[in-house]
């Protein structure tokens, strides 16, 4: 098994954006005839690594060896010509062209200056038969399901003589039958000697189909393991890691349980349009509820629902005893909700605006544009926020983009605290920020709970959840699979709840 040659080898790949290093000396070896899983949480560097392999980014350091040649693909089509093809979750084919045309675009057989459609159709039908697809190749691609489109993309990649096939989250939108079909094709290709890199966040699928696993965390390779020699618990522990050594003083702390009649927010067997099922919880004033689970398990989806970005399809959410059905963020804000979003850059900060303007956005929106906040009051509010959250910035008129990630995050938190929310939803509040700001934000979460605010915090860092939550909701594959309360919340209990196979 180990004797197989390496089809693609990455040595000490480094990549950084704006001096933030995203990949630090990452190694990866793909052997011909294996299915290799690439795992890691959001921000671990998976997608950057793939983009380096496919030529979408060029690495700052390190080398890529294909077969026995060092290569440096500059564009995706370069990489494709060398034999590295990628199939993305969002199928990168053309929905408006026919299936046959998609398969042979740019390599159509021609005679007398005319494309020979008959030949293309015959070849396309023949090719797809190898993938057990018996479809009308004249129909536009968009008339078929995503699974079929994905198989068509793989067929094209293989037909262009791929030696290395990268599948980036190909199963995210497929149902079980379609996944089984895809896996059979993957195994066939593996047996014919193709090296397949399979990126996914479904652990069951990793164990079902892969031979080896490489895990990335925070831009570094944790290790490469044989799939059958790596227990699931260890795998999850490797992915989530132990990053919070500096925060050891934040031992588990459980806010006192409030009275049952103080229940502020309640979810009763809720199903959400974005796929989350079986959601049940009760949140009292002063509760800090942690949402734990792997990437894609449904953590963020719950945050979206509560903030009016996705609607409830069945079940009931109630707020202070009354049914609560927000249909827009504006409606949720009106009821006293606030959301600190997961993707700070695109959903949190407004880049060209100053720190002051960013701080005041939510408050001004709440008051309405026809009641501007007077300059004097603005200054007082901003100064107060900067002092209270210890935001480090020389001048509140500086564009927010110039602040560090941690300080940007504090600005977002302060922005919402100004609106005096009763329920504060934090989606990955500590991602990508330095350890000092990290500790301050955790401190803030505890302080807000003590003041009676209800917090709902989604996080991939278990130690963090353990540090402040008095309830932890365990999510797996978009289902709520458990709830751990009070003193039962420990790293081990949460970790094993996440990792337990279905």
């Amino acid at each position: 098994m180990t004797a197989r040659p390496a089809a693609l080898q990455l040595n000490k790949i480094c990549k950084s954006f704006n001096r933030v290093s995203v990949l630090r000396s990452v190694d990866l070896e793909l052997r011909a005839g294996e299915i290799h899983a690439l795992l890691g949480e959001n921000g671990a560097g998976k997608s950057t690594l793939i983009k380096v392999m496919t030529g979408a980014y060029s690495a700052d350091g390190g080398e890529i060896i294909l077969g026995d040649k060092t290569i440096s693909p500059q564009t995706p089509s370069d990489a494709q010509k060398l034999g590295i093809s990628t199939v993305y979750q969002e199928v990168n084919l053309l929905p408006n062209l026919s299936v046959a045309h998609n398969l042979y675009l740019g390599r159509e057989p021609r005679r007398f200056g005319c494309i020979q459609w008959k030949k293309i159709r015959a070849r396309a039908t023949e090719l797809l038969k190898r993938f057990d697809l018996d479809i009308n190749v004249n129909e536009p691609l968009s008339s078929y399901s995503i699974a079929v489109q994905q198989l068509v993309a793989i067929a094209r990649a293989v037909d262009c003589s791929a030696k290395v096939l990268i599948l980036d989250e190909p199963t995210a939108s497929l149902d079980a039958r379609e996944v089984a079909l895809l896996f059979r094709v993957m195994r066939d290709l593996r047996d014919s000697g193709v090296a397949i890199l399979f990126v996914t966040h479904f652990l069951d699928q990793v164990y079902e189909v892969t031979d080896r696993i490489t895990i990335l965390r925070n831009g570094e390779r944790v290790g490469t393991f044989a799939t059958n020699a790596l227990p699931r618990n260890e795998l999850v522990a490797h992915m989530l890691g132990k990053e919070l050594h500096a925060l050891e003083h934040l031992s588990h702390h459980c806010p006192p349980a409030g009275r049952e009649e103080d229940v502020l927010l309640e979810a009763d067997s809720v199903t959400i349009a974005n796929g989350v099922e079986q959601l049940n919880f009760k949140a009292r004033q002063g509760d800090a509820i942690g949402l734990a689970g792997l990437l894609g398990s449904g953590r963020s989806e719950i945050c979206s629902m509560l903030f009016g970005l996705s609607h409830v399809t069945s079940g009931k959410v109630s707020l202070a005893g009354k049914e609560f059905r927000p249909n827009s963020p504006a409606a949720a804000i009106k009821k006293g909700f606030a959301l600190c979003p997961e993707d700070r850059k695109t959903e949190g900060i407004v880049d060209p605006l100053s720190v002051r303007e960013n701080l005041l956005l939510a408050l001004q929106a709440q008051k309405g544009w026809w009641r501007p906040i007077r300059a004097q009051q603005q200054k007082a509010l901003v100064d107060e926020a900067i002092r209270a959250l210890k935001i480090v910035c020389s001048d509140a008129e500086k564009p927010i983009g110039q602040l560090s990630g941690g300080n940007q995050q504090k600005v977002i938190l302060a922005r919402w605290l100004m609106t005096k929310p009763q329920i504060f939803i934090l989606d990955e509040p500590t991602r990508g920020i330095d350890i000092g700001a990290h500790a301050e934000i955790l401190e803030l979460i505890r302080k807000l709970c003590a003041e009676g605010m209800t917090l709902i915090v989604a996080s991939s860092e278990i130690e963090e959840l353990v540090a402040f939550s008095n309830k932890v909701i365990i999510m797996r594959d978009k289902k709520m699979v458990g709830m751990i309360e009070g003193d039962a919340i420990t790293e081990n209990s949460v970790l094993s709840a996440i990792a337990t196979p279905v």
């Binding site: 740019g106 494309i115 939108s173």
Partner: protein, 321 residues
């Protein structure tokens, strides 16, 4: 029937309906003579709109075509009348100038990642300005070659097929071949379908973009030449706003403005529908001819709303992910 043919079928049905309604109201409305005149009188618009079809299919827009028509007609008139060139010498020069103009716009769009709207808007002002600088006055053309070309033709069923109609048929056939039997045609549809995917599939983006705008400008120059023969003069203010007529014809022809879906046949039908409305108003006699614009405006609006509905059928499926 596949959903992608629905818009063009609707256009064809609309054309037939107009024809039938007109002939019920006025005798002689649907005669071969009227229909063939429709082709002759709109040949320059149709040629321009066929070029525009490819631009819109690729997801772009070309606002310069009306001005390129004027510039070509002035250039042609000056070369023939002021410099004594034979039209057969002048025409290739005008076509090459048009092609170069389009190639430059295409290159600007591709290399600097500029909006086609802005680049061709600049091209529109530039070409119109240049045409006016060359000659403010209309230049009448008296060359005998013009008369012989204009007189060439044969009559069919009481109607007349002239050189402009023949040229239109050739350009139409060329458009069909380009769209459906060449790699470039596939690339143009690909660009309009999803340009990121197209690039990932190895479509030569630069070459395709430049070809598209070169084609559109060349056909605009050709339509300028047809227009010059039609009016027997070159005038810098001819074809003002014609780019918008061309866009309207493409949209009425069922091509999706966001690109990727549409057929050259639809565009030809679109031009014919616009011509038919004009004919109907002139048969009517008492209506102001500007009513044509009101009808065309309503039709364009109706088609865009109709396509919103249709595109729920084929365009938005990929958003499901």
């Amino acid at each position: 029937m596949s959903a992608r043919f629905i818009p063009v079928v609707v256009t064809a049905v609309l054309f037939l309906a107009l024809l039938i309604a007109g002939s019920l109201q006025f005798s002689g409305f649907a005669s071969p003579r009227v229909l063939l005149n429709l082709l002759t009188d709109n040949s320059f618009l149709a040629i321009m709109a066929l070029g525009m079809t490819f631009v819109i299919l690729s997801g772009g827009i070309d606002l310069s075509v009306g001005s390129v028509l004027a510039l070509s007609s002035v250039l042609c008139a000056i070369l023939v009348e002021k410099h004594g060139w034979h039209p057969l010498q002048a025409i290739p020069v005008v076509l090459i100038a048009g092609a170069a103009f389009g190639a430059i716009m295409g290159a600007l769009i591709h290399v600097y990642k500029l909006q086609p709207f802005i680049v061709t808007l600049a091209g529109m002002f530039f070409a119109r300005g240049l045409a006016t600088v060359l000659s403010e006055q209309s230049i009448p053309i008296t060359h005998s070659f013009f008369d012989s070309v204009n007189n060439f033709g044969f009559s069919v069923l009481g109607g007349w097929i002239g050189s402009a109609t023949l040229l239109l048929i050739v350009v139409f056939a060329f458009g069909l071949w380009l769209a459906h039997f060449t790699r470039l045609g596939g690339y143009i549809y690909a660009l309009g379908g999803n340009s990121t995917s197209a690039a990932l599939l190895g479509v030569p983006m630069g070459l395709t973009t430049i070809s598209i705008y070169t084609l559109s400008s060349t056909l605009a120059a050709l339509s300028g030449i047809v227009y010059t023969f039609y009016t027997a003069s070159g005038y810098a203010l001819s074809g003002v706003g014609m780019e918008l007529d061309a866009i309207a014809a493409v949209v009425i022809g069922g091509t999706l403005l966001t690109g990727g879906y549409g057929y050259v046949l639809g565009t030809l039908l679109g031009v014919m529908i616009m011509g038919l409305i004009q004919t109907w108003i002139s048969f009517h006699g008492s209506l102001n001819s500007w009513w044509t614009k009101i009808f065309i405006g309503s039709l364009v609006l109706a088609f865009i709303i109709f396509q919103r509905g249709i595109s729920a059928g084929f365009g938005t499926k990929k958003a499901k992910i």
